[in-house]
Amino acid sequence: MTQAFRLAAGGAIDRSHRLAFEFDGLRYEGCLGDTLASALLANGVHLVARSFKYHRPRGIFAAGSEEPNALVQLARGHRTEPNVPATMVELFDGLVAASQNRWPSLDVDVGALAGTLSRFLPAGFYYKTFMWPATAKAWLGYERFIRAAAGMGRAAIEPDPDRYEHQYAHCDVLIVGGGPAGLAAARAAASSGVRLIVCDEGPHFGGSLVGESASIDGVDASAWIDGTVAALAANPDVTLLPRTTAFGCYDGNMVGLLERATDHMSAPPAFAPRRRLWKIRARAIVLATGAHERAIAYANNDLPGTMLAGAARTYVRRYAVQPGTRAVVFTTNDSAYATALALQDAGVAVAGIVDARAEAEIAGSLPRRARAAGLPIDADSVVVGARGGKRVASVDVRSASRTRRLDCDLVCVSGGWSPVLNLFSQARGTLRYDEALAAFLPESSSSVLPAGAANGRFGLAAALSDGHSAGLRAATGGAASRLSAPQTEREASGAPRTLWSVTSKRGAKRFVDLQDDVTADDIALAAREGYTSVEHLKRYTTLGMGPDQGKTGNLIGLALLAEATGRTIPQVGTTTFRPPYTPVTMGAFPGQESGAHVEPTRYSAMHDWHVEHGAGFVNAGLWRRPHSYPRAGESPEDAANREAKNVRANVGVVDVSTLGKIELQGRDVAEFLNRIYANRWDTLAVGRCRYGLMLREDGIVLDDGTTSQLASTHYLMTTTTVNAVKVMQHLERALQLDWPELEVYVTSVTEQWAAAALSGPKARDVLQRLVDIDVSNAAFPFLAVGECRVRAPDGTIPARLLRMSYSGELAYEIHVPADAGRAMWEAVIAAGEPFGLMPYGTEAMTTLRIEKGHIVVGAEADGRTTADDLGLGNLVNAAKWCIGKPLLERPALKAADRWQLVGLTALDGAPMPRAAKIVVDPDRAAPNPMLGHVTSWCWSPNLDAWIALALLARGRERHGQVLWAVSPLADAKVRVKIGPACFIDPQGERLRV
């Protein structure tokens, strides 16, 4: 019979709206408004899980996010998500869920053998064994089994197809929690006209009030909730965020929240995000986060059918479900009596209310009503143990005079209430322990105001009034208001008693942390062995380390530790509250900034042309750069060789837009350049450029580039692609902090200018057809710079022309405004056609510069080399100070055996091994002393040889020597001849034609 345990009336569910769902392959029916947990209970399904370590049968324990047992695998199409608490799943039509961590089935689970071996598996057992045999890999063998048994649900195999988004908001007041305290706070804050955001974990506001009957300001609870929410929703300064969990409080009063936007829909709209990560900065935060009920550790307190008393009441009142047929209530406080009355209303037989308090302490209004209703109460009694297999069948109750057995299929436990203070603590609020309430209460915080049960003010009347005043304080700082708090009848309640556990016979399992299967005996063992700090307790026993963060059991654990070590609870303290409060879907954190967007991609203005002409691409930092332009049937390597050869034979053009470009203007630029570059700049003439070497503060080479003087107070600096951002910050810092007296203005123009380098003996022929100035050798010699216009089909393009060469051939850099980049490039291609011009990419560019011995930051200048190491020592001008000069004098930077830049030529026709190390004897046993290593290497089509640049100890003394370049990773070794780091045109004649 479907929904056999659904009550005929009552609850906040819609009986007319039936939903079909599946659990472990069986079909069931529920109603709109159910969670998966309440729907399962309505169908009488109590066995929903097997515990993590012992594979004990488990049922639904709670009604909210603190649920420790009922974690399910949710599947929707090929989306699958493990470890979802069934209590937090809004039922929708077609939902498919399965239990986890059991094989072959929930009913018959082989893992239950672990339960029979549980004697040998106390907390920390794995530290005491698995050390045999005595080999390095012994543990790997055991690990295979342990890892297969560990873990709860299964990760998906398919990529997650869903969208996640980020949302930012600012507000005056953020209220976390939409129960009675939160709604009272919101009502009060809204009345002061502030910008307000109210969030709640659940789909509807009202919290613990939903489904309850109570009278607030003269109306029924549900009417009060509806009216309050409607007024807030109608207020344009209020944002309501249901289904939204605040998971973390961060510096600067920023709160992270996760909104479950579409999980409750069986057919979510396309393009709607599945989850939304909110980042809200609030001037003040009210935490109306309520309290979690605690269990009590008695023997077998984990049988299915055992649940928190408040949860049982919620299932009756809110979800109109009978959680059982015959119940025992075990409590230390008054709140569980409301559960007993609710169960009675629902037609559940109440076999007994077992109250640990003495008769005289059971005097509050709820127990009085229970007595008047004829419910049996056992004062001064405790449940010593439960019995049952896959469902609780009976409990043993010990009173002063006797012990008796009560048959039952539902046990409702209440050990007390712990205010939910995770966010409070994350916001650096301090806690103090209250003996009477047996709970940690908030003490003080600057920006976060707890309210209601979170503030230790229990009961509806207290929640309303405390929420009201917190809302006013948050909104106005405590100014008087004419609005009064919502009124309700105050219930008289008796004091609770503190009871953490009930002693039982040895070997019986009294669970403290249901999720990680931590028992009271484990706590005692930890204390016995000396793991007596609360953090040691947590790590040794794994108390509170599961997804539920130990919400219903942590306090019991640390109380038992206190007892075992003769300390008070405040002396033991709590472990640090770590975000997130409840587990947050990973996809929500990066939002859209994952996959292809995990980092931005930077493209040159000519990118589309490269794509259209068949270029292959490489990543150079964040940039995409053409590697080469293979023709049909050509490999990328062949293409690069063809391109490199063509540059030296005819002419080529390469896109160099990615180079950093910085404009420096002002009266003192030359002086500034003198300080930040190793070489000298006040001798540079207008219309000329110069290679520049920049050092770090410790004397090591930082960056290189060229700087041109365009006019007397106007310079253009280029940097390497990879250091463009860093150099810009370096210049700004020096100017703003060290030398503000210098008149220099710097502007980054990397993206504003597109640039191409035209290189080869025919470069002038091509250029003269393109530009409107005289580029003869006399008019525009090597290192000249100037302005010109480039002829393009649609008109002329203003350009800067720099005659400098990276390839070692006659070469020019053409810089144009980026919007005109493609037009310039196409004009160059067209003008070069009669001269055999080919575009070339980074691979050919690398070959050419290796042939010339030009260093690259990141390869030769590896962050450990000095200018002298690189053969550029003469660039460090002796007559002036520059950044880095003082520390260049340190002994190790002047040592004779430093690794110096050399060129290598492979002998015997064998390829140069990639990233090779240089040794004397390749077959010597390890450790084989390394004299140096290859920094850059290539096949040189212009020399028909394998060549490389390398750093080698005493390199400049070794010219002519033959050593070995080896790569054990590639099983390669080659003889190499050491020589100068320039293989073509060492006099630089080709540059100057």
Binding site: Y250, G252, R733, P740, L887, R890
Partner: protein, 91 residues
């Protein structure tokens, strides 16, 4: 997420800034001893408490400025433009 108070733009999220380290290390004069230069480049107080440090508003006005922040709690205690004193600095 920290809110860094830029003296020109006001408090902005830390993601708009670049950190520049200890602000109390001052570049020695060019003729200072090697030991002074080594200390400038390498040695740091690294206090657990108020720390005078440099930040650049790199995604905003690109100005460098000083902030006094408690390195234990991230509480920002003061800020100052270059050349202006932080509370307690000798004038």
């Amino acid at each position: 997420m920290l809110l860094i108070p830029c003296p020109w733009c006001g408090p902005r999220a830390q993601s708009e800034f670049t950190y520049g380290g200890d602000a109390t290390v001052v570049r020695p004069p060019a003729d200072a001893s090697e030991a002074a230069w080594v200390a400038f480049v390498y040695l740091r107080d690294n206090p657990a408490g108020p720390h005078d440090e440099l930040w650049q508003h790199s995604a905003g006005c690109r100005r460098w400025f000083r902030v006094r922040r408690d390195t234990r709690t991230h509480t920002i205690l003061a800020n100052a433009r270059p050349g202006a004193p932080l509370p307690g600095d000798e004038a």
